[in-house]
């Protein structure tokens, strides 16, 4: 039995190296002097030196701080909007017959499959008229489309797990819809709420297509990183990229035990 595991270990270690290598490179170029990385034809792959100069340079360059702050604001708007819309929708879908509610979920996932760029182009035209172009709310409203179906699905799952009679009992005890929500239901669905919030936050943080078309002049972080890369000065952005990547990796590692196939597939059961 012991021997049969050795090939698995070898494959796992090779794959682990492949998966960790790009992150390692990002860390390396963030902490190495430029003379050892960007300035060399064959950059060194081992950490021979250590410097914080790159970090200092990138933090001094204020043009990158604004996009990061904008990304944070957009991500919070998207996450909060996702909570509001999907809690309401999940609650309603749980009450109507499952045949009908499943159709609505499928419809929402179908909308999710429409290419972002196809939707972003006409939306950007409307948003110019509405004053939402180059605006954090504009980006957030568009990005909400990406997260709404999965959020609704997660919240529906949360409500389905509650006992059916729970709400009747709160009614008997004299609670109206709002107070039963506040004191009974919300504390019981806090795990799906947290997952919805974090997934929506992460999706918005990563989103590029809507952001670049709807807000090219007031860019979010991914868009401004793209600007830097396409202009060919990567070393300012590289340490910054690391700085903003670490929190998300922490979120993912935290979310790991919740990232079960079911949430990721949006409940399309096999």
């Amino acid at each position: 039995m012991k021997n049969s595991n050795i090939p698995s270990y070898i494959i796992a270690i090779i794959l682990a190296i492949i998966f960790i290598y790009p992150l390692y490179i990002l860390i390396l170029i963030a902490f190495e002097p430029v003379s050892l990385t960007f300035d060399r034809l064959y950059p060194y792959q081992l950490p021979f030196d250590f410097t914080l100069a790159n970090f200092k340079a990138s933090i001094k360059d204020l043009s990158l701080i604004a996009p990061v702050l904008r990304s944070v604001v957009v991500a919070f708007i998207v996450a909060i909007l996702a909570i509001v819309l999907s809690t309401s929708a999940g609650y309603g879908l749980n009450k109507i017959s499952s045949k009908f509610s499943n159709k609505i979920i499928v419809l929402m996932f179908f909308a999710n499959m429409l290419p972002a760029i196809v939707i972003a182009i006409p939306i950007s035209v409307y948003f110019i008229k509405l004053g939402l172009y180059d605006n954090v709310f504009g980006i957030a409203l568009a990005q909400e489309l990406v997260v709404l179906p999965i959020s609704t699905f997660i919240m529906l799952g949360g409500f389905r797990a509650l006992p059916v009679d729970l709400e009747n009992q709160t009614n008997i005890d004299g609670a109206n819809l709002l107070s039963s929500f506040r004191y009974v239901i919300i504390p019981l669905i806090r795990v799906p709420l947290i997952i919805t919030f974090l997934l929506a936050w992460m999706t918005s943080w990563d989103e590029f297509t809507y952001a670049i078309i709807i807000s090219p002049l007031a860019p979010t972080f991914p868009v401004s990183l793209y600007d830097y890369v396409s202009r060919g000065d990567p070393f300012i952005s590289s340490s910054f990229a690391l700085l903003v990547t670490i929190p998300v990796i922490v979120i993912v590692v935290f979310l790991q035990k919740y990232l079960k196939g079911e949430y990721l597939t949006g409940g399309m059961k096999a």
Binding site: P22, P43, K99, I119, I213, I249, K269
Partner: protein
């Protein structure tokens, strides 16, 4: 009667989300199709489509190659990873944490890292080849990873594999853990080796999960935009980058609608096909 009455009331809770999706998703998509027939002179014809026919055909073809290539690579490695993670190896927790890291690195950041690794001149990949002595062996200074359009597409596929394999692996891991260990044990007792167990037990049980993973990743694979834009620009253009290329230059905005309509058509066809064959119809039966 009473039940119907309550139903209507609860639909109100769902309405905001539904209206949202309809207004910001179905309506714009429909307007793209409508506008694609409008030529710069204001008449309605197929002019936009004829104008970009050859470029569109080529990038459609390239997109299909990249999508299917990346899908196959991802699927292969995801099956491998899921089969390793399902075993209770020592250190599996560490491995699964490492395998999920790419999921947390944003697409543009990962495209950026890969552009540093695969530079046209020098870069970290060449540096590795250099220190292994391979460059010296072939007598070249560095490998130009973007020498032909196929190597460029290969780079995109590799970056995409790196970023998205964890997602598929997680879905398949869910499928694997639903297989009863007793079946595996019984097969093992009956003398089936690990290869035959894989073909006759694991694969058939995993098939529906593979179908779902293919649907989810397949649709997003046709939509891949940030990765090719950062890594290879418009050489060659995939459909998404082609739409963006037309959109960003004023003289060809109308063409972008035509290209976008074709993209929409491909996606809808693919989605309907897979939904008919796979997951969603099962979901409705639940």
């Amino acid at each position: 009667m009473f039940k119907n009455h309550t139903n209507y009331k609860y639909i109100l809770f769902v309405l905001p989300a539904l209206v949202y999706v309809a207004a910001l998703s179905f309506f714009p998509a429909a307007s793209v199709v409508f506008l694609s027939f409008k030529t710069p002179k204001g008449a309605y014809s197929l002019g936009n489509y004829y104008a970009i026919e050859s470029g569109l055909l080529k990038s459609t073809f390239d997109t299909v190659i990249v999508s299917f290539g990346a899908l196959l690579i991802q699927l292969f490695f995801a099956i491998l990873i899921a089969n390793i993670l399902i075993k209770s190896l020592k250190g599996n927790k560490l491995f699964s944490t490492i395998f999920i890291i790419p999921y947390g690195i944003s697409t543009v950041v990962s495209a950026f890292i890969f552009s540093l690794i695969f530079s046209a001149v020098g870069g970290f990949a060449n540096s590795t080849l250099h220190s292994l002595g391979l460059l010296h062996l072939f007598g070249i200074a560095s490998v130009n990873w973007y020498a032909t359009q196929y190597t460029s597409m290969g780079i995109v596929m590799f970056a995409d594999f790196w970023k998205n394999t964890p997602l598929i692996a997680l879905i398949l891991l869910g499928g694997l853990s639903s297989i009863d260990p007793a079946i595996m044990e019984a097969a093992s007792v009956d003398g089936a080796g690990s290869f035959r167990r894989f073909i006759h037990i694991i694969l058939p049980n995993l098939a529906p999960y593979i179908a779902i993973a293919l649907l989810i990743r397949g649709v997003s694979e046709f939509n891949i935009f940030a990765l090719p834009l950062v890594l290879i620009g418009y050489h060659p253009s995939l459909i998404n980058t082609l739409v963006y290329e037309y959109f960003t230059s004023i003289s060809s905005v109308d063409y972008s609608y035509a290209a976008a309509t074709i993209l929409l058509l491909i996606i809808v066809a693919f989605a309907v096909l897979v939904i008919k064959l796979g997951g969603a119809s099962n979901y409705e039966k639940q």
